[in-house]
């Protein structure tokens, strides 16, 4: 009688309007890429799109097989010419672009159209390898809606009005969103890559370097790129405590400071003699392409997954190639407990070349003072040293020249001069490079540190206190520390020399006009948004996933557990969506519900309402067959009739009716 035979609806070739919709969405998807693709490539694709348009609308002929193959070969050669490779991200995307263009010209059957749409989806995905900003995401969303509308219209162009296809695609995508969210959050993420990435996987980056010469850090003063953001568990530290330690440099050739081999920059001893309360915080670091990580002076312990570097610095296991979040604790007041080995001590006292005559004279003056640190800082403060964003270049003997001639410098000038003087005076000293300051974002409740906040300071060894931080910049230009680098830019724009004015005057000078303040507030808001974005999109990885799971109450979930959770979550979401999609739209009358309830109770005693029996007729029959229930039932029916068939809509009557139905008890006859 019945046979099991599936019948697959045929795929009729789409018509011209479908092809035009496909061309439109192709153009839309290419907007994601056009700024990165070479101009000739964009022109070639535009030409192919136009060709298809002419084929569809003006009766041009589709190219023959020979022409198509010739185009494939020519395009491949040109791509290889451009990128010197056919592999890798950039060349791959270029090839994909060409492939889409060629597919457009040769489409005939329904399947070709579907493949073209799939290629467009893949092309959309490839845009994320270049940018993951919220703007890219928004653009890609719009483009995806367009592509999906095309996919809907391929089958149904003759039936669905364009507006209904759009509504349909939007409805489908909106319903897909919750399921996507569950997959996104719960799909097990892995650290690292499956296979070696092509060399151009990540773009070139600049920033802090591990070799510091006069002018190295100064070059960053104009670099507005964000280096990292920090959220504190409590209130943020005072501005003069915001020293972000990244590298310790103790080797020098007299001009450049750099990292020493082995453990000469300081051992991996992390003990403290004493310390104040810890400050806990989470750093959200931009990709640096380097291994070192920043930590607030002085880090208590390296965070989980990171290593202890020389001189109490923190080092990642692999270069940081993408946004990266880590949590750790630091002490802002501390005394370290460590010993200085003879070798390290000797290394930290090594000076380069003989001191000049006037330097020797100066050193003699210093030695006469009880505290060499105070002596040198006093020298910087009292002489006409100037902190400037535009220091002059230095010649063959930078130290001598800076101390006696130019006397104008940026942080690295003062820090390296100070460290060198200390070594001449027999005090072990080294250079620390990192960031100082940062701007507090009240909208997001976090600190933004930019590359322009890069800073260098010194550390000297005191037998009783270990390595302690000494920042000569704070003496010469207290505004740098108190107000941050931005303030210095503002002041120097007004011709003010740092270190010359009282703090009240500086504050007055730094008060910006209202418009500027609003603009800055707006920028901070945007940054807060993009931080949240980065936290959940760009930097969402195994650690964030584990944190999320822990917050949801699943400690250290296994892969199997995650897979089960993912499946269960997706199934539940799918069921919910199917309820909204397939469920009854019409809300039933509560009176009808009460009636079916009471009828079900009567049916259980063997008194079944006939389908075509009206309420009054049924009530009469109940009265005859079950006189014991007659009164109660007819009372219900009277009210039911008024509520279901009459104009009565009073909620109180409805609740009485529901109560009557609930309380109705019918013993079997």
């Amino acid at each position: 009688m019945f046979e099991f035979r599936s019948y697959r609806p045929p795929d009729d070739a789409p018509d011209r309007t479908a092809a035009n919709a496909l061309l439109a969405s192709t153009v839309a998807v290419f907007t994601l890429h056009v700024q990165r693709l070479p101009l000739w490539l964009s022109l070639v694709v535009a030409m192919l799109v136009a060709w298809r348009y002419l084929i569809e609308n003006h009766g041009w002929r589709t190219p023959g097989r020979m022409v198509r193959w010739a185009m494939v070969v020519a395009a491949t050669v040109m791509v290889f010419n451009q990128y010197h490779s056919l592999l890798g991200r950039d060349a791959g995307v270029a090839l994909l672009a060409i492939l889409i263009g060629l597919k457009l010209t040769e489409m005939r059957a329904f399947r070709d159209y579907v493949i073209a749409v799939f290629l467009l989806y893949f092309f959309t995905l490839s845009a994320f390898l270049f940018s993951q900003s919220p703007i890219t995401a928004v653009t890609a969303s719009i483009v995806t809606v367009a592509t999906t509308v095309t996919l809907v219209r391929l089958r149904n162009i003759s039936v669905l009005a364009a507006s209904r296809s759009l509504k349909m695609a939007l409805g489908l995508l909106l319903r897909a969103l919750p399921i996507m969210l569950i997959m996104y959050l719960l799909f097990p993420r892995i650290q690292g890559s499956l296979w070696a990435l092509p060399h151009d996987a990540f773009g070139a980056r600049t920033g802090l370097t591990d070799r510091v010469a006069p002018g190295t850090i100064n070059r960053l003063a104009e670099d507005d790129e964000i280096a990292f953001r920090v959220e504190f568990d409590g209130p943020p530290p005072r501005p003069d405590q915001r020293y972000w330690r990244a590298l310790v440099l103790s080797a020098t050739d007299g001009r450049t400071w750099y990292r020493s081999r082995g453990s000469m920059d300081g051992g991996a001893d992390w003990r403290f003699r004493s310390h104040g309360p810890p400050l806990r915080y989470t750093v959200d670091s931009e990709a640096t392409g380097k291994q070192w990580m920043v930590a607030l002076d002085m880090p208590a312990l390296p965070p989980a997954g990171a290593l202890a570097g020389p001189g109490r610095t923190v080092v990642a296991r692999t270069p940081i190639q993408k946004r990266f979040r880590y949590s750790m604790a630091s002490y802002t007041s501390y005394a370290t407990e460590e010993t200085l080995s003879a070798a390290v001590r000797a290394h930290a006292l090594r000076t380069h070349g003989p001191a000049s005559r006037r330097l020797r004279g100066l050193l003699r003056e210093f030695r006469a003072r009880p505290d060499p640190v105070e002596a040198v800082l006093g020298f910087f403060r009292d002489q006409d040293f100037q902190y400037t964003l535009t220091p002059p270049g230095l010649g063959d003997d930078p130290l001598d020249e800076f101390l006696f001639e130019s006397r104008r410098g940026y942080c690295e000038h003062f820090a390296s001069a100070f460290a060198s003087l200390m070594r001449h005076l027999g005090v072990p000293a080294r250079l620390v490079v990192g960031y100082q300051g940062g701007r507090w974002n009240p909208a997001g409740g976090y600190l933004i540190v930019r590359r322009s906040d890069a800073h260098a300071w010194s550390e000297v060894w005191r037998p009783d206190r270990g390595w302690i931080r000494v920042d000569p910049t704070a003496v010469v230009a207290p505004e740098r520390i108190d107000w941050g680098i931005e303030a210095l830019h503002a002041l120097s724009a007004q011709g003010v020399v740092p270190g010359q004015l009282g703090s009240a005057t500086v504050r007055a000078l730094l008060t910006r006009p209202w418009m500027t303040r609003q603009w800055q507030a707006l920028q901070l808001r945007w940054d807060a948004l993009s931080t949240t974005w980065n936290r959940w999109v760009t930097a969402y990885g195994p650690e964030s996933q584990e944190r999320l799971m822990r917050r949801l109450g699943f400690a250290a979930p296994s892969w199997a557990g995650m897979a089960i959770g993912l499946t269960a979550g997706v199934t539940a979401a799918l069921l919910l969506v199917s309820a909204t999609l397939l469920g009854r739209r019409r809300t039933r009358d509560p009176a009808a519900d009460a009636y079916s309830l009471i009828c079900a109770k009567l049916a259980s005693t063997g008194l079944q309402r006939r389908p075509h029996e009206g309420p009054l007729a049924f009530s009469r029959r109940v009265g005859i067959e079950r006189p014991d229930l007659a009164d109660e039932f007819s009372q219900f029916i009277d009210l039911y009739i008024r509520l279901r068939y009459g104009p009565d809509a009073s909620p109180s009557h409805m609740s009485i009716l529901q109560k009557l139905a609930r309380r109705f008890r019918a013993a079997p006859a």
């Binding site: 989806y121 490839s126 890609a140 149904n156 489908l172 897909a176 997959m183 996104y184 499956l194």
Partner: protein, 303 residues
Amino acid sequence: MQFTPNELLLGRQRLYMLPTSHGIYFGLLLLAMLLVAVNYNNGLAYAFTFLLSAMGLVSMLYTHRNLVGLRIIPKDADPVFVGQLASFPVQIDNPSPTIRSDIWLVSNQCRRRMDLGPQSHEQVLLSAATTRRGYLRCPVISISSAFPFGLFYTWAKPARPAYRCLVYPKPGPLLPWPAHFRSGGGREPHRGIDGDDFAGLRAYQSTDPPGHVHWKAAAHGQGLQTKRFGGATNATIWLDWRATHGPDIEDRIGILCRWVLDADAAGLRYGLRMPGVELAPERGQSHLHQSLRALALWRPPDV
């Protein structure tokens, strides 16, 4: 008479679903996308891959919704003669407030695509060839859809509704009237071409002479009708199985069928007598139907 017609409700249990070949390609595309996302550790790529996967899953629900709840209401087909195409009217009813698009109704001899608006219905004629007299069962009906993406397709368990078409025998060649009529009656009645009195219209049958077709009505789009002319004759005729000869039962039935049609066209009162069947002389549309029905369903009695 059936007020609750033998309709097929496309419930959940009745519907199946499978991916199309494009659906399988789509799965491969998603896999490739996931590999890219994992390898580049790219959050947006993950998000996009999962968006498309979720979209695929939700599209299954859309595909299912496109058929679920539809009602297929077949009806009896009008009787035809052997050799003519039987057309079974099948009504597809969409009682829901949603549009159903791109639905394919298929039987072994034809297929139709249709779109159903909210609370609307569409009637399809499923035709089937007729080769022998008697009842012809309604062909197997199956219904399917790949809306909206063509990634999945759903189809209903094919069903063969209990509807049927009465197939009259094929009228035999023109033959003289039965011999006993000729000998018994005085005047042989004309073969329905009694030109005197117009006696009304009836539906056209392929055996009618073209001159009697009411072309004016046909030109007004009212379908083919044949003018009937009732003569003054009030003759009664018995069409008897014994008056036919031949080795083949079907041929003899064909001769009787021809006589019945001719007698009706001539406006005679005619009766039908066959082994096991006897219809009293009568005339009119319903008697014609009764007679043809008796011929269509007649089986030689067991000897």
